[in-house]
């Protein structure tokens, strides 16, 4: 444990009956960082949050804050505050009373409470709503009040449990940036739970990808996105295309994988476990990283001449504004998606729908994993 660790979980288990919610989880949260727990429902991210806040006790394992054991400390004595998914604003209190509520238990007097609540509300742009009831606010405003109510306590760690999930897409984008700005301005450590990978990528300093009660990968967004350590992370974070094949050649640290259709691809090395000759491998590549070979559009005789080229049948072109989504069928019949900016595509591409085109899959973006990994966990 280093000095800048504000919160640490050591070998934390949590079982609900037969269900294992957390499986010997280790996690260190650094002071002042924005850490996101990213995972599907049931992956244990909310349970982790509830163990930190004190609403659940771990079945086993230790929780430390600033080097002090947190196990057994009741929720109301922890210097941790939560922004709840449904905001949980008290309906019988005004906005100001809601925000000031927590100060009551720190021995702050009535007038000082109101003054500070007013200041906090001003920071989230809602000072004029201080005497209204929460029910008069919009979803985004409620979210801001919930944030103000938690931040006014100046917690060591602020926990956010999918706080934007109830809002519409546009507002969510806006509030993502606002939350991030707030986090930088206050310097408070945020632990953020979400199942939305875009949200995680936009806001986080580090992302912990969770699956079945364990952290599968922990690192900065760029690492998690560009250098996934497992098939699970590669498929979960970002859209991806998957190919199955067999390792036929080990060219230094660049193995060559033969796909079912016979195409051979040079790939990036697996980071979890080395691939051996004749191993079955799953290849993952993001839609943005596949390029259309412009010179040889529809010219399938020359495919062998090009490294890492695959012939695919162009099924459809979907217009996405700046980008186009190309839907194709690979050599094995699998679906392939390609994202490309419209101006980088040949103008006559529409004529090729229903015909074969050539795709280039750059080796540095082609991640290979042992094929049995998905089931093994």
């Amino acid at each position: 444990m280093t000095d800048d660790t504000v919160l640490a979980l050591e070998r934390v288990d949590k079982r609900f009956g037969d269900f294992v919610a957390l499986d010997r989880l280790d996690l260190e949260v650094r002071r002042g960082e924005f850490l996101t727990l990213l995972g599907e429902s049931g992956s244990g991210k909310t349970t982790t949050l509830r163990i930190i806040s004190g609403f659940e006790d771990p079945s086993d394992g230790l929780v430390y804050m600033n080097g002090q054991r947190l196990n057994g400390v009741p929720a109301h004595r922890r210097r941790v505050n939560t922004v709840f998914q449904d905001y949980a604003l008290f309906p019988h209190m005004t906005v100001g009373e809601n925000v000031a509520y927590g100060l009551r238990f720190d021995g702050v007097g009535t007038h000082e409470r109101r003054r500070r609540a007013c200041g906090m509300l001003a920071r989230v742009g809602l000072a004029d709503r201080i005497d209204q009831r929460p029910e008069a606010l919009s979803g985004g405003q409620m979210q801001r009040v919930a944030l103000a109510r938690a931040l006014i306590k100046e917690p060591e760690v602020l926990l956010l449990d999918e706080p934007l999930s109830a809002l519409d897409a546009k507002l969510r984008k806006e509030l993502q940036l606002e939350l991030k700005r707030m986090q930088r301005a206050t310097g408070i450590t945020f632990v953020y739970v979400t199942h939305d990978q875009d949200e995680a990528l936009v806001m986080s300093d580090r992302i912990a990808v969770m699956d079945r009660g364990r952290i599968r990968q922990l690192g900065p967004p760029a690492d998690v996105f560009e250098r996934p350590e497992s098939l699970f992370v590669a498929e979960f974070v970002g859209a991806s295309n998957r190919f199955e094949g067999v390792v036929v050649e080990l060219d230094g640290n660049r193995p060559v994988v033969e796909l079912q259709g016979g195409d051979r691809l040079t790939v990036n090395i697996s980071r979890t476990r080395p691939l051996a000759h004749r191993d079955r491998a799953s290849l993952i590549i993001r839609p943005e990283h596949i390029t259309l070979n412009p010179g040889r559009l529809g010219n399938d005789e020359a495919s062998d001449a090009l490294r890492n080229a695959v012939a695919a049948w162009l099924e459809d072109i979907v217009y996405l504004g700046v980008e186009r989504k190309l839907v194709l069928r690979g050599p094995g019949g699998g679906r392939i998606e390609v994202h490309e900016r419209g101006d980088r595509l040949p103008a006559d591409l529409a004529d090729h729908v229903g015909r074969t085109v050539q795709l280039v899959l750059p080796a540095e973006h082609l991640h290979a994993f042992p094929a049995d990994e998905a089931g093994a966990a």
Binding site: G54, H76, T82, A88, Y101, G102
Partner: protein, 314 residues
């Protein structure tokens, strides 16, 4: 859609558009009635109910209260003598006071016990919740009379409680102070009316999302403060509703005092019943009823005002 098809959508559009309504009485009022048919129907039913079951009876009582009794008939008049008699005599004031004491005691005790019961049911009981809930409701299926009368068997000289106390050697002769006094009246009324508080409070507690309680804890509130600042204020409407019903019902009860009260414990409802029955003095009974009505309304109004004031100052 092809024009050859019999066009249902077109027919629907025709019915919906105001121009297409046949020129029956196409006045604005008629249009409003058509659009809010169900609303008018419901409002009519409510009006009928209020008129037949509330306004008319009270109006009759009000009118009777100014009439006069002469020998064995009552005749129309405008006399304040009945009110003078009701307000002038200490006897009736004492009886009303009696009723107030009983009703207040019952409301307070049933309020506290009912709240505690509901709180346990909503917050702690898990597996036993349905059973306990069933046990709470099941007495409501039996007759009120029976539920009051059963206490004479429990509290009487030869009753269950005395027998038990004697067997255990705690007393040497049967206690007679258990029955036929205000204590036994209150006990029976509390027992009977407890669910009337517990049920609305339980409903209010059930409606409180778990996250409110967790948010309060999260913000540093110890359990007692969470109850005081979050849980209790959110259940006050349920508690007030329940307590009001209990107060009114126990104030107006005449069966329990008759069965379980002593001669000095008669309540105002007993007196009123008597005026309408044996005494055959409907005008005086009506005047008493109006006085009671005013007193109860005044009390409830004050309680509501008090509740609102404390609510604001919180």
């Amino acid at each position: 859609m092809s024009p050859a098809l019999p066009s249902r959508p077109a027919a629907a559009a025709q019915a919906a558009s105001p121009e297409a309504i046949p020129p029956v009485p196409a006045t604005a009022a008629y249009g409003r009635f058509r659009r809010h048919r169900l609303e008018f129907l419901c409002a009519g039913a409510v009006l009928l109910y209020v008129t037949v079951f509330i306004a008319l009876p009270y109006a009759m009582v009000g009118v009777f209260s100014f009439w006069k009794k002469s020998l064995y008939t009552i005749r129309p008049a405008f006399s304040l003598a009945n009110y003078a008699q009701a307000l002038g005599s200490d006897v009736y004031a004492t009886v009303i006071g009696n009723s107030l004491i009983v009703a207040t005691a019952v409301t307070l005790v049933a309020g506290v016990l009912g709240y505690v019961l509901a709180y346990y049911l909503a917050m702690y009981a898990r597996r036993s919740r349905n059973l306990l809930f069933f046990l709470l409701v099941v007495p409501l299926w039996t007759s009120f009379l029976l539920r009051a009368y059963i206490w004479t068997i429990i509290l009487g000289r030869e009753g269950i409680l005395n027998t038990l106390l004697l067997r255990m050697g705690l007393v040497h002769q049967p206690l007679s102070l258990l029955l036929y006094n205000k204590f036994s009246i209150c006990l029976a009324l509390i027992y009977i009316f407890l669910p009337f508080v517990a049920l609305p409070v339980y409903a209010a507690l059930e409606k409180i999302p778990r996250s409110y309680i967790e948010a309060s804890r999260d913000l540093g509130a110890p359990p007692a403060s969470t109850f005081r600042h979050v849980i209790f204020p959110l259940t006050v409407p349920g508690l007030v509703a329940g307590a009001t019903v209990v107060f009114c019902l126990s104030f107006g009860d005449f069966i329990t005092p008759k069965l379980l009260g002593g001669s000095s414990d008669i309540m105002i409802a007993n007196v009123i019943i008597e005026q309408f029955g044996a005494a055959f003095n409907w005008p005086f009974g009506s005047a008493l009823a109006i006085v009671v009505l005013v007193v109860v309304f005044a009390l409830l109004g004050m309680a509501a005002m008090l509740a609102r004031l404390t609510g604001q100052s919180r």
